[in-house]
Symmetry: C2
Subunit: 110 residues, 2 copies
Amino acid sequence: MIAKTPKPPYYAVIFSSVRTEGDNGYAAMSDRMVELAKQQDGFIGVESARNELGITVSYWRDLDSIRKWKENAEHTVAREKGRRDWYQSFKTRIAKIERDYDFERNSDEQ
Amino acid sequence: MIAKTPKPPYYAVIFSSVRTEGDNGYAAMSDRMVELAKQQDGFIGVESARNELGITVSYWRDLDSIRKWKENAEHTVAREKGRRDWYQSFKTRIAKIERDYDFERNSDEQ
């Protein structure tokens, strides 16, 4: 759910997308990419939600681990399929997390 | 949908949350907060999606405009209601967008 992330600074890849119609192998590949990302050096966590717009935020130790993930061969093939089959449009933003704070309801409340 | 954002650098507030049960006035307040945010100096755009996890990313010109939005009186009241009524847990991350790139399918394809 909410990714457990370390004290900043760390990095995020914010991937916002609008899908094409139909699955066309998307769901299986999406699951596979999460599994593969988790195995990468520097991967911290990932959060995802989708309605008409989908947002996936993956968290990384540094820019170098993001670069290596981008160059991963299987990920590169998946991105090519994304442009060809799965996405109407998308935007990828690389961000440095400078500060964070959180809230957790006490377990004795609702 | 996908927010139109300027050439980096600019800033993002990544708000990841898990809701409590029931609406309890959440939907109306959420709409109101988007309307109010749009009126703030330095606001660029916002993207949202929710399944079990909700992710809202708002984009801002600089840290000062994020700070002023945080100090907005009506927003402060809404955040207090959020902690009291609407959220099981949340995490807010302040990030500097350093780089971005996008994809738009040609209108003659699917």
